[in-house]
Symmetry: C2
Subunit: 429 residues, 2 copies
């Protein structure tokens, strides 16, 4: 008898405390076993990927997606290397974050625990399946995984290898579940009693669609509208390569810059130099009338509503502002609270920017492209969150945990404390 | 010209970074100024409360609600005392929770920041308005407050006093906003672009209604189905007063016990003693056929679906289980992940219970009624969360903050790290 998704996920929910209680040694052994099993099954994986690639090429899927879909020796060794690194990281579960004696023989302890059951819906890259499975295992979570349709064969083989190696290493076999059809996703989104968190990775429209169609909490980001503000005090020699990096190093990334704000005091001098550098890097510059009065801009002149645009390609909006306060005002009004940078040598301007920009990442004198779990030293990331609750910015192992309060007592009742015959003496241990 | 709620809340959103950047001294001065202003305005407050009480009595509102509505000398001094205590607590904002050198002259810092704009919708108690305003001010959040209709006069006066005293002490005047009509609440729930969090306090049906009608994250709890498991190894002399406390000390509270699970090994001996004690405390015992074979039970025999019931009064369900594993299974299947306790002397049983019960609070040998921000030593609480993300259990100042990542660099670009000509050397500072 085949179980429905609803039944499988409910069984997973009941299993999740057992997965959560799995000790570090077993989880780490599973990660290493998965790395070995993947390496040993390279031919099978590459054959499945060749089938996906052939189908993709036949159906005319874009070069960019085909590149993400490809799973070769390089991607495989990055995956196995990543799993081994994950095994070496400290266990994020079981950390005591508060311990307090409330009264004699009455001790409160706050301890980190896994979130429980996490659904991850991700894009074409099959390596994401390996990375996300690894993060969920290390953090003691049960995971429901759904890869892109284009990567179906590759993900099918990868998942089977991961699941078997994990179970053989002693993890609960049903702690990982793969779903593959759109109907199953629709069903999954209804299971708010059993699924604790959904992490969608993909286009803005896709993430927004998920958020609008479930009562399950969603961690992700719908938009990445990042800014760089060039203050009057900026080191202009430094500013140009940083802006180029933030725009061109990977323009489709959510942490690429979309709008550069430039202090009016330096615009006449700085904008022509910036325009030359951008032009050499094939970046199209857009701007309003004021910017067009100084440098050439492409297309229609920009109006304020246009500053909400995430270009995601080699297009950059430029706007002039009086000072850091106006720059902050622009960023908080038009940004997506992802990552924003100030280029400045004046400490007062930096201080204002750090205090008032309401984003997950606020940088001084470097590229917005640093917003990434690997670059933050988290070992890996499950995604980047622009929500303000639970986890912000790149989300690694810590973002996949929550906590629980324990009290160990000796028969204490509340009545005596409520009536005042006993009182708490709070002493942090 | 009057602004609409939408316009006011949008203005508050743009103001929220300024509120967030307010220094500790100003926030603490505001809390003390509010305490003084409330004490100085006692006559005005009591007059407004008398009007609310008269209207409540006229419209036949229940005694219980009238008791919550009453704002007298005792409540006033508890409020002012609470504000003074809050002023003495450490500032939850600006704490550095991670600091890491990524590379030379490239430093990552994670720092706590306020959530931003919080909407709190609370029940009849006017003292909740004071407590919540205080928590939001101390944590640097802007707050939109909506009290119960019954407490309209009292809340109106309290809010005016709080707002004026806070503004006079140097807080942004529009960091606090009061809304009063149902239409305004409906409008508020639509403002997911500008409101970061909604905290509803009230009946389960009310909280569920809020959750179902907004895309804004909601922190709260829809149900409080708490359990006590009496293990075969329990100290039975200790067990009876703890169960009585958990059921009778405040039966309407969400942390009161609803179901007691008893080990079959001791049921024949323990249940009659428990039944006698419960009967003396006017508690109605319900149970299934097995329990009814040992002690008298009231009403229809219970079937499994009935264990989802939150009685909220002097009614208690009793069920027998084989051991701690079965007790954990029952709790994870029928509980609401609020607070559950084990009474046991066997350390192995306690260990299993602590490892596997998936609730915000898991206790050993004490009453479930300890689940409370004051009793945890948080100074105050804005509510109790049964969600697993962001904050669990009693939510105090820490639960009203999130964090932000800062990077301070010297012109670094990602390209060199991506191309491998430079590499990170992660060193925690």
């Amino acid at each position: 008898m085949t179980m429905s998704i609803r039944e499988k996920v409910h069984a997973m929910k009941l299993l999740s405390p057992t997965m959560a209680a799995t000790d570090s040694a077993t989880k780490n052994a599973a990660l290493l076993a998965i790395a070995d099993a993947l390496a040993a099954s390279r031919e099978e994986i590459f054959a499945a990927n060749a089938a996906d690639m052939a189908a993709a090429s036949e159906s005319g899927i874009s070069e960019a997606v085909q590149k993400r879909l490809k799973f070769d020796e390089g991607k495989l060794s990055a995956c196995t290397e990543g799993l081994k690194q994950l095994a070496e990281l400290p266990d994020p579960v079981g950390r005591i974050t508060l311990q307090r004696e409330m009264d004699r023989d009455l001790v409160l302890t706050r301890i980190t625990v896994p979130i429980g059951v996490i659904g991850v819906i991700f894009e074409a890259r099959p390596d994401a399946l390996v990375q996300i499975s690894g993060l969920c295992i290390k953090s003691g979570n049960c995971a429901i995984l759904k890869g892109g349709r284009e990567s179906q064969q590759t993900c099918g083989v990868l998942f089977a290898i991961i699941r078997k190696a994990a179970a053989d290493a002693g993890l609960p076999a049903d702690a990982l579940l793969q779903v593959s059809t759109h109907d199953e996703i629709d069903e999954l989104l209804k299971l708010d009693e059993d699924v604790d968190l959904i992490i969608p990775r993909g286009s803005n429209a896709f993430v927004r669609h998920i958020m609008d169609n479930t009562r399950i909490p969603v961690m992700g980001h719908a938009e990445g509208i990042c800014h760089i503000y060039v203050d009057a005090s900026a080191d202009q020699e430094m500013a140009i390569p940083v802006i180029l990096d933030a725009k061109t190093q990977y323009p489709a990334a959510c942490n690429a810059v979309e709008t550069v704000l430039v202090s009016r005091a330096i615009a006449g001098d700085f904008l022509p130099k910036l325009a030359t550098a951008l032009s050499e890097a094939h970046v199209t510059v857009r701007g309003d009338e004021e910017v067009a009065g100084i440098i050439d801009v492409a297309g229609d002149l920009l109006s304020p509503e246009d500053y909400h645009t995430e270009y995601g390609d080699l297009t950059l909006a430029v706007r002039l502002v009086d000072d850091v306060t106006q720059a902050v005002g622009h960023i908080n009004a038009y940004g997506s609270r992802h990552t924003d940078a100030i280029l400045a040598e004046d400490p007062a301007a930096v201080k204002t920017f750090f205090a008032l920009v309401d984003s997950a990442g606020v940088y001084h004198n470097c590229s917005t492209r640093f917003a990434d779990g690997f670059r933050y030293g988290f070992g890996a990331e499950v995604g980047i969150s622009t929500g303000k609750l639970h986890a912000r910015g790149p989300v690694g192992l810590e973002g996949l945990t929550t906590y629980r309060y324990r009290i160990e007592g000796a028969g204490q009742c509340v009545r005596e404390y409520a009536e005042g015959t006993r009182s708490f003496h709070f002493k942090d241990l």
